[in-house]
């Protein structure tokens, strides 16, 4: 593993018209590994993901460093960003019901990534699309290729999404709550597919989620975000050794099969966490 794929130092994001930053001085680096970002709604975790792709209209992004491989993301022009998005960095969105264009065939939408970034004919793009659909374990790619989004299940829709976003073989994939819209039964299946592809291809993964258990099982490292800042960074396997009271609170609020039937702990949020620096 050479240098980090991503180097973020003191990233702050403010939405226009807001009185406070949505994300405050967030720093982390990412190698060819799987990094989880966990936090409750409004903690700024999705905002970080979108800022990396520079897809936050109506927000100002500032950072001391925002480096993706050899590129300074803040210095790139929009035209240069177009060559980064989809090709070198992509994002899996939450709910395939909304994130796929309802009146276009699934295959067409996957092929669009290919046609956008490579000088290929439609026929070649189709071959590549079918391969990719097979790679996300869709059993009958030819058939699925011609279906419309409303004709496929959520799990399959999310696999199509993965195919679409990994087709150009990016170096970094951001998965923004990739399974929270799915049934529990297909969640694991989709995650395993994503995990296998990311490992095989040596892709850096940022998994944004509010599901602590999911993240600790699928990631190497975890950032815990609270109120726009990172309160703690941990190795996934050291999760139980978390020191920050917020992380400990989150862990305590997890239900466990066979655990005590007592009411779950309620998070106690202290204003000073918003100010103190991450260890």
């Amino acid at each position: 593993m050479q240098g980090p794929i991503l180097d973020v130092k003191n990233l702050s994001i403010r939405y226009h018209g807001a009185s406070a930053d949505a994300v405050r001085k967030v720093s982390f680096t990412l190698g060819r590994e799987r990094l989880g970002i966990v936090g409750e709604s409004g903690s700024g975790k999705s905002t970080v993901g979108r800022a990396l792709l520079r897809l936050l209209p109506g927000a100002t992004i500032t950072a001391d460093t925002l480096r993706f491989e050899d590129a300074d993301l803040l210095a790139l022009s929009e035209r240069e960003m177009l060559k980064v998005r989809g090709r070198r960095m992509s994002m899996i969105l939450q709910d395939p019901k909304f994130s796929l264009n309802p009146i276009r065939r699934v295959g067409q939408q996957v092929a669009e990534t290919c046609l956008r970034h490579f000088p290929v004919s439609r026929a070649e793009a189709r071959v590549k699309t079918l391969e990719m659909l097979a790679a996300v374990k869709i059993r009958d790619p030819e058939r699925v290729h011609d279906l419309y989004p409303h004709e496929i299940s959520g799990g399959m829709g999310q696999r199509v999404m993965i195919a679409m976003m990994l087709l150009a073989d990016p170096d970094l994939v951001i998965a923004d709550e990739p399974t929270s819209a799915l049934d529990v039964t297909v969640r694991l299946q989709v995650l395993n597919i994503l995990d296998a592809l990311v490992r095989d291809r040596g892709i850096g993964l940022i998994m944004i989620s509010h599901d602590l258990n999911l993240v600790r099982n699928f990631c190497d490292r975890v950032l815990i975000m609270y109120a726009g800042r990172v309160v703690e960074t941990l190795d996934a396997r050291d999760m139980d050794a978390a020191r920050h009271p917020y992380t400990r609170g989150l862990l305590a609020a997890q239900p466990r099969i066979g655990g005590s039937r007592a009411p779950l702990a309620v998070l106690d949020r202290r204003p000073e966490w918003q100010e103190e620096m991450a260890p």
Binding site: L53, R85, S90, M91, N101, P102, I103, H150, M164
Partner: protein, 340 residues
């Protein structure tokens, strides 16, 4: 084979709906005909006819029969293509209407081209720049188009562009000088003069058409702009737009390929409906510009109480709208996969 059947049933259902709507429409026109305060018999026989003549015509028209019988007779007549004669001209109503319709169609077609050509890009621009100055500008522009009384803009436009500047022709479909110079083949002056190779007449016709068509086009563009804007806003807020951006498409590409691509069917529908209301006749513009079209025809006959003419006009308008609704249904069926 199995997936054919629901489709066939859909088409059958559609045909039934149309038949029922048509029947309702005919009933409506029949009622309009019977309820008009004009006395058709008096209109035919004149003021100083004898009582015997009056009674005779009254019976000839079948007005002494019960209403349901009169309606059935009307149905039969219409189905066999007989819409009755005009009291004013004595000719079959349908012939008169076929004579005025091309003038209106010419006007309406040009107007809708202008209206859609202006309204759709403006609507997209407004949506893409929501709440910024282009949006405000477009909204003011279309508000004007919507709220200025068209007879007034018509007169002002005539004064400015015809009387003062002399850029366009005045009222009528062509200059007085050219009237009768081209044989009436299709009724469409532009086509007739082009066929006859009378390019002077053609130019004169364009000159006369451009001003009323622009005014009508502007006023229908107001509606088209607003609808386009709201359809686009709907799409722009969708998550699949983000997906397209993440794939590496530029903002322009996502807007035109994805968002605009998804509203095409809706757009065709509203443009068709706007076209329908233009075909119905723009009475005010036709009056201001002395345009011998359908709107004027309908109004004149309403005023003199020519029942057959009015009934047939209403029927035609109804059929136009049924046709347009059918068209939009078919378009949805063909182009929106979710309806299958």
């Amino acid at each position: 084979m199995p997936d054919r059947r629901p489709r066939l049933r859909g088409i059958l259902g559609q045909i039934t709906t149309i038949a029922v709507t048509l029947l309702g429409l005919l009933l409506l026109t029949f009622i309009i005909g019977r309820m008009m305060p004009a006395d058709p018999v008096r209109a035919m026989v004149g003021e100083d006819a004898t009582r015997e003549t009056y009674e005779q015509v009254f019976r000839q028209l079948g007005l002494d029969r019960p209403l349901w019988e009169q309606f059935l007779r009307y149905l039969g007549d219409v189905l066999s293509g007989d819409f009755g004669n005009s009291i004013r001209t004595g000719k079959p109503v349908i012939e008169d209407i076929l004579h005025v319709m091309p003038a209106t169609m010419e006007l309406a077609t040009f107007a809708i081209l202008i209206g859609a050509g202006l309204g759709i890009p403006l609507g997209v621009t407004a949506a893409v720049n929501k709440d910024r100055w282009p949006d405000h500008l477009v909204r003011v522009f279309s508000l004007f188009g919507h709220s200025m009384p068209i007879f007034w803009t018509g007169m002002i436009a005539l004064i400015v562009f015809y009387a003062a500047l002399g850029w366009v022709g005045g009222s009528g479909r062509m200059s007085q000088f050219y009237i009768g110079m081209v044989p009436d083949r299709t009724g469409f002056l532009l086509i007739d003069s082009a066929i006859a190779g009378q390019w002077d007449v053609f130019r004169s016709a364009v000159n006369h058409l451009i001003l009323p068509a622009s005014l009508l086009g502007y006023s229908s563009s107001a509606y088209i702009t607003r609808m386009t804007r709201s359809f686009m806003l709907d799409q722009l807020g969708q998550e699949y737009m983000t997906t397209a951006r993440v794939k590496g498409l530029s903002r322009g590409q996502t807007i035109w390929r994805h968002a605009f691509g998804n509203i095409r069917v809706q757009l065709v529908t509203i443009v068709a409906l706007a076209y329908g209301s233009l075909l119905e006749g723009a009475v005010l513009i036709e009056t201001v510009f002395a345009w011998p079209g359908f709107g004027q025809y309908l109004t004149n006959n309403l005023i003199i109480g020519d029942m057959n003419a009015v009934m047939t006009c209403v029927l035609i308008v109804g059929v136009i709208f049924i046709g347009l609704n059918l068209l939009s249904d078919i378009l949805y069926r063909l182009f929106d996969p979710r309806t299958k």
